[in-house]
């Protein structure tokens, strides 16, 4: 079958109609080979492993909910096939002896991993320009970024190479690239999906989630990955709603909050505000009550995030020492020099910048002024959401302030890059589930560029969040819009 732009639901139908897992894997690999050289969504394709696995699924007559469905995983998820490089020179040759729980659960359900998607190195970035092995491009305009850090996964789904890909979201790294590439991206509640085997960036924030073309497919992947894992003590020991995949179920009385702080004066591209208004109208047409909510500490989100996340990163990335695994500087005969040279050679500039910022805010004399204070403001941000959720079931807001920006536009100004995450970090700091949905298009230089809308839900309320997302999805068929990849040939 033609796998281009297929949904999981369509692939499952093709399999039910007699297509083999091997034929889907081969068609997917051919499509990647044809269009990815111009996009760079994949850091590594594991074709032989994928074909072997697909053949074994065909041989077993496996019947899992994802049996034979090709997927991609982000390059920071440990996998026994190929390398797990975090798009970093530090881990360029790293071969994991185990597979991340989230990936293992998808494979147990029959999914066939075809490759590892490019990302900002160690998930630090919002544009996929911080990848040690080359930039990833936006399928809607190859001169623009796909967003980040899970930009390769968003690009792979947005360009119709795979129906689904995994990303990880620390401050918006699933939702923002989903918005920029015109796909669905879900960051579940912190603790919903095991972090075992996810290379750690900021452990109190990191969460794995799916990229898909439809809400229904996001729910299906979630239903497979959600749930307690003894290998991750922070994974939540809570039941997973058995009707999670029934996204067309009536969500019941709907109360939707619009935060007044998410319409910063002059900050949003008009297409973003229009997309939110369209989603608001879709809710109203479906009988929802839409009210304004107050999230007064929103303006402190970015500052709080870049203290908390870098502090945790500086600690997590201390493990890369040139001794146990990863890059080792050659010819060094002093241990401390071995550590520091291996790290400076192995880590790219943004990673080093964040390690230094995190080290600084944790260092003697600054811990209280920066780190401890940020943790207190984090609680105030969480308190804003708790108060808002007394009155509403979900919050509707933009995902990003605008459509994809041009490659290179923000690389010299880290702070401008960080401000990309203004609408996504508050839910991350509060640990709440949030989904970005295709919301429409901005017309830039005669080209349509996707913009997303974001729905933020109550903790562990993903079943309702996805049903509400389905209300927006049903109102406008943005997902069937496809980028003109014919223009890619000359873009490489």
């Amino acid at each position: 079958m033609d796998v281009a732009f297929a949904t999981i639901a369509q692939l499952k139908q093709a399999l039910a109609d007699g297509a083999t897992a091997e034929s889907l894997a081969r068609a997917t690999l051919e499509r990647i080979a044809a269009i990815d050289p111009a996009l760079g969504a994949f850091r590594e394709v594991i074709g032989d492993a994928a074909i072997a696995r697909a053949k074994s699924i065909d041989g077993d007559g496996a019947s899992g909910p994802l049996a034979g469905v090709p997927i991609a995983i982000k390059d920071c998820m440990c996998h026994v096939e190929g390398t797990t490089a975090c798009s970093s020179k530090m881990l360029e040759h790293y071969r994991s002896p185990f597979t991340a729980t989230a990936v293992e659960r998808l494979e147990a359900a029959g999914a066939v991993v075809v490759g590892k998607t490019a990302m900002d190195e160690f998930a630090m970035g919002s544009s996929c320009e911080n990848c040690a092995f080359g930039v990833t491009r936006n399928p809607w305009d190859a001169s623009r970024v796909p967003g980040g850090s899970s930009g390769g996964s968003a690009c792979a789904v947005g360009a119709g190479m795979v129906a689904a890909a995994l990303g990880s979201d620390t401050g918006g790294s699933i939702r923002q690239p989903a918005s920029l590439c015109g796909v669905v991206g879900l960051k579940p509640t912190y603790g919903r999906i095991s972090r075992w085997g996810l290379v750690a960036f900021a452990s109190s924030l990191d969460q794995i989630g799916p990229f898909t073309r439809t809400v229904e497919d996001a729910a299906l992947l979630s239903s497979v990955m959600f749930g307690k894992d003894p290998l991750d003590a922070t994974s939540a020991d809570l039941p997973v709603d058995g009707d999670l995949t029934d996204v067309d179920r009536d969500p019941g009385p709907m109360r939707i909050g619009l935060p007044k702080q998410y319409r910063l004066e002059g900050a949003n591209d008009p297409a973003v505000d229009e997309a939110v208004e369209r989603a608001q109208k879709a809710f109203e047409a479906a009988g929802a009550e839409v009210v304004e909510v107050d999230l007064p500490h929103t303006e402190y989100g970015i500052a709080t995030y870049y203290v908390v996340a870098t502090a945790e990163a500086s600690s997590n990335l201390a493990r890369f020492d040139g001794v146990h695994y990863g890059h080792r500087s050659p010819g060094v005969d002093d241990l401390v020099e071995l550590y520091s040279k291996s790290r400076s050679e192995g880590f790219g500039e943004e990673v080093q910048r964040r390690i230094m910022l995190g080290t600084y805010v944790l260092s003697a004399g600054y811990y209280d002024a920066y780190y401890n204070r940020a943790l207190k403001v984090r609680r105030l941000i969480r308190g804003d959401f708790d108060a808002a959720f007394d009155a509403v079931d979900a919050i509707l807001c933009p995902t990003a302030t605008g459509p994809a920006f041009e490659i290179g536009a923000k690389t010299d100004d880290p702070l401008a890059m960080y401000l990309n995450d203004v609408y996504t970090v508050p839910a991350s700091l509060a640990g709440l589930p949030a989904v970005s949905l295709p919301g429409g298009f901005a017309q830039v230089d005669g080209k349509p560029l996707p913009v997303g809308v974001q729905l933020i839900g109550k903790a562990f309320d993903e079943a309702r969040l996805l049903r509400l997302a389905r209300v927006v999805e049903r109102s406008a068929d943005h997902a069937s819009a496809r980028p003109d990849l014919g223009a890619l040939a000359g873009a490489g």
Partner: protein, 108 residues
């Protein structure tokens, strides 16, 4: 209120060198100047947190309320030495090799 003390001067090149040493990084002189400039701008932005009233607010280190989890201290299968050493950039038999830590090698 001690919490709201201004976070002091923004970062200097000497402080960048000190932080790099703590972080076991080895920036070139050019990078030190570059990082000082960028970190200064970021810290200037982050200083807005000093304007928030956090009197009586408990720090929130975790995204959700968590309690410590214990497990039985029972032996279980782990990685074999060969697997564990599989990614070692340099090994010596069943050991990770490092430069000499004590004596002539200097080390820490």
């Amino acid at each position: 209120m001690s919490d709201s003390a201004q976070p002091g001067p923004r970062i200097t090149e000497d402080q960048v060198r000190h932080v790099a040493k703590l972080a076991r990084l080895h920036p070139t002189d050019a990078q030190v100047g570059h990082f000082a400039h960028q970190l200064d701008a970021i810290l200037d932005y982050v200083a807005k947190l000093s304007g928030v009233d956090v009197e009586g607010v408990e720090p929130m280190p975790h995204a959700i309320d968590t309690v410590n989890v214990w497990r039985e201290d029972e032996p279980a299968p782990g990685l074999s030495p060969e697997t564990a050493l599989g990614n070692a950039p340099q090994r010596d038999g069943e050991f990770f090799a490092t430069p000499k830590v004590l004596g002539d090698g200097g080390g820490a």
